[in-house]
Structures are given as structure tokens and as C-alpha cells.
Symmetry: C2
Subunit: 228 residues, 2 copies
DNA sequence: ATTCCAGCTTGATCCAGGTCAAGGCGCGCG
DNA sequence: CGCGCGCCTTGACCTGGATCAAGCTGGAAT
């Protein structure tokens, strides 16, 4: 079955499970399609389970009263989201919205908890997954509070490059508006920073494609070197 | 035994465990004393286990290259910290230091993992604990990126009051310098904000004791009302 | 009691970056 | 082919809050 293959091969969370566990899991999951822009859940609403991106892209974000948006994370295929209320509190701590046409797997809370209680492999995987998210939060908090915007942009680009094996050309998988939201800045500021980095000869921007001309220089900016 | 009593009664993490599990746990834990100002672990160092505050106070924080400090959390008695590397990565994502003379329980990684694999109650407790931390991170990120300093201060005071049952007088359990670090601002700014809140008749500050004179007004400030 | 000092307050200055406003640019669609 | 609409860039301005620089204060140590 299609779904079982996905669970086994594409999802670190379910790595190492026995086939009959995968079957049990597959039998309780429900896939659903969300068009770009559609809300998946709202902050504060009651959760019935968690979600996994199968295809497309989902943003998790907070809104201020004035409407400013802080993106907490953007998830792609294979990544779970909305786990918190499964284990604590029952309500979502933030909002989720599809940023592209997406297929999303829903995993009901009760069934998942039953599986977790009987399978320590799954439980350890889940503990690792939550720990990874805590680690990312730490990094994000550090970036947002201890780094200036150019540092954050440089760090983001380097991270993107690293994750594609140190490639000299990276492709933004999200719009620049979303990137600004993710980096905790205004779109205008991001635009200006990219320009400055270009003028300094560190990068070249062509739409969503960015050439990293000087990785070391970019690293220096990321580390706080004020060369502009 | 003293230690077992502490584990059973003072720690949500170990709530609901059977006595023989508690015994097993107690037998692998090691308490240690840290004077005020002593480092407990450094970011990036290899972790051998997690910690639990028995008495005193511990701050978890990040440092920028220039030496600015962002406090991520401050933990008191009963609260665990440093869990992340037990389940993922192996290295601490931030620094920990005692902010008061403290007794801290060390729980070795391997023993803990063995217990977790054999006891789903403990595993579910741990999942809940990590989820609670993720939720707090979400709130913290929201406060730091979407709220201005006066809003953060007001929110902190109200939270403090709520946690002591809505008391009209709250006592800061940390120094104002640390509070500034926790709220992502400079000590000078915090001082000025407290003064403004006092002059607006919302609070009265006497050292570490703060009277909340106008909870509704404070709530309004916390929600972004620009009354100063 | 006097000194000392960490912790706090107050004042003055400066700047990163948010906001408002006005175009460009590219692309899908009629 | 050109119209319209997101999305992005550029410019001008303004402000929250960081930083630098003095004092102040209260309690611990002698």
C-alpha cells in the first residue's frame, strides 16, 4: 500500500518500526489535501492529533494583534508538526497554513498514544523528534535576539547551502516575503540586506536563485563581522 | 530515603512511577552542589545525562560573540533541564549556570534511557515535559519578536501574579538584571519601563516586591494598548 | 559605624530597522 | 499581446531601544 511505503521510507519518526506497527499506524491515519493559503489549524483550537507533510509546504506562525506575522517554522515533506497538544495541553500553540498546494497526513491522538505506550522504539523516536525541535528553537531564539539582520540572512543562506551539500548555488524554497517573516524582519529590510550582500560581492541574486560567491566572507558576516 | 521522597513528591516527571522504578532511578542519580555563579555545563559540550534542580536556581542562556546574554529559561526546584542531548545530538544547545547556591541532581543518560524503554509511563511523562517546553518556547518567541518591551514586562508581571494565584503583590524571584536578560532587553530599558508603569499608576515597585495596583490596566498594556 | 560594591537608576546620544509611500517587474490569463 | 495582480525593490522618514557614562543605594563585611 502506498501509505505504508511512505511511512516507512520517508519518515524518520517511524524509522525502525516493525511491519505490523506500520500497518496499525497506516490504518488510523487520514490524508487530506489543502490548497495554497488554506488554514490547517488555528492557535488555541483543540487538537485531535498531529500532522505530517506528505507533499507541499506548511508554515507554522504566530500573529501579533496588529497583524505582524512571525513564522516559527516551515515544514516540507516527511516532517511532522502539531505534536505538542498530543502530549500536553490539548490546544495548538500556534497557527498552521499551507504555503503551497499540499497533501497532509493526519494522525489521530488516541491511536498514536496507544501505539506509543506499546512500542518503546516509536516513543524514543518521538522523544528524539521533540528534542530536535527544542534544539532548533534554541538556535532560532539565539538568531532572533542576539544577531542582527545581516547576520541572520548570511546564516540562513549558509545553512541552506550546507543542507544541499555545500552547493555554491542555492534556491530559496520559500518566497522572500516568507523568508522575511521567518527571519523576524520586514520584507523591505530583507531586500536591502540582500542588496548590500550583493554589492559586497558575497552573493549574486537572480530571483529565487542565489549564487554564493564568497562563502568565507558570508561566514564572516554571519559571525558578526561588520564588513557590510 | 531522602532522595526517593524527593523524586516521588517534588517531580512531575516521575509522577505515577512504581516504587521499584523510583528505586532504580534513585540508585543511578548523583546529587551535586554548585555555588552561585558556577557553570553547570557549556553549550556544545558532550552530555552524559540530564539534570534536575533540587534547590536553588539555574539559568539556561546563550551568549553572542560580543558578550550579550539571552536567558532562555530560569529553573527552580523540581524542574529538569538539559534533556535535549539525552535524546538527540549528544551536545548541549546552550549554557547552564547556577544563579544561586544550588543542589542539582544528575541523571545519567544510559540508565535513564534504559528505564524509559521499559516504562511507558515514564516515557509519556517525558514526552509531556518536552512538549511543555516546546509550548513555552513558542510563547517566548512570540513575546520576543512580536511584542515591545513594555508589553513583555507587563505580561511577565501578570504571569507571575497568576502563578501565585492572582496575588496583588508579586516578588521577583530573580534579579532585575536577569529579568532584563530573560525579556531580551537591556537592564537600563527595563528600569525605565518599570518607572513608566509606576508613573502610570499600574504598579508600585519596592525592590524585589511589586504591587499590582491595576491588573486590568496592566493587561491592556500587555495586549499592546499604548497608554504608556 | 564606615567602607565597599553589586545591583540599580537616570541622563544623553545614536542607529538599526520598522513603516509609509511609490514605483518596477514578471507572469498567468483573457 | 497587453492587462492586472502578486511580489519585490527603492526611497524617505521616524522611533524604540541599545549603548555609553555617571551617579545612587542598600546591605554585607570588617
Amino acid at each position: 500500500m502506498e501509505l505504508q511505503t511512505f511511512l516507512k521510507s520517508r519518515m524518520p519518526l517511524f524509522r525502525g518500526l516493525e511491519d505490523r506497527q506500520i500497518e496499525a499506524l497506516a490504518s488510523i491515519c487520514v490524508p487530506a489535501d489543502y490548497p495554497k493559503g488554506r488554514t490547517i489549524f488555528l492557535e488555541g483550537s483543540q487538537a485531535q492529533g498531529l500532522y505530517v507533510v506528505m507533499s507541499g509546504q506548511v508554515k507554522i506562525f504566530k500573529l501579533s494583534l496588529e497583524g505582524r506575522e512571525q513564522i516559527i517554522h516551515i515544514y516540507g515533506p516527511g516532517e511532522p508538526f502539531g505534536e505538542v497538544p498530543v502530549f500536553e495541553g490539548g490546544r495548538f500553540p500556534a497557527n498552521a497554513e499551507a504555503t503551497a498546494d499540499s497533501r497532509v497526513l493526519f494522525v489521530p491522538r488516541d491511536g498514536l498514544r496507544r501505539l506509543l505506550e506499546n512500542d518503546s522504539t516509536l516513543a524514543m523516536n518521538m522523544l528524539a523528534a521533540l528534542s530536535r525541535k527544542l534544539r532548533r528553537f534554541t538556535v532560532k531564539l539565539e538568531n532572533l535576539t542576539l544577531k542582527e539582520t545581516p547576520q541572520r540572512v548570511a546564516a540562513y543562506l549558509l545553512d541552506l547551502s550546507d543542507r544541499s551539500g555545500g552547493a555554491a548555488e542555492v534556491t530559496l524554497d520559500i518566497s522572500k516575503g516568507h523568508l522575511a517573516g521567518l527571519l523576524g524582519t520586514a520584507q523591505e529590510t530583507l531586500s536591502r540586506v540582500l542588496k548590500r550582500l550583493s554589492e559586497a560581492g558575497l552573493i549574486r541574486v537572480r530571483g529565487k536563485h542565489i549564487d554564493i560567491l564568497d562563502p568565507d566572507g558570508l561566514q564572516a558576516v554571519s559571525d558578526g563581522d561588520d564588513r557590510l
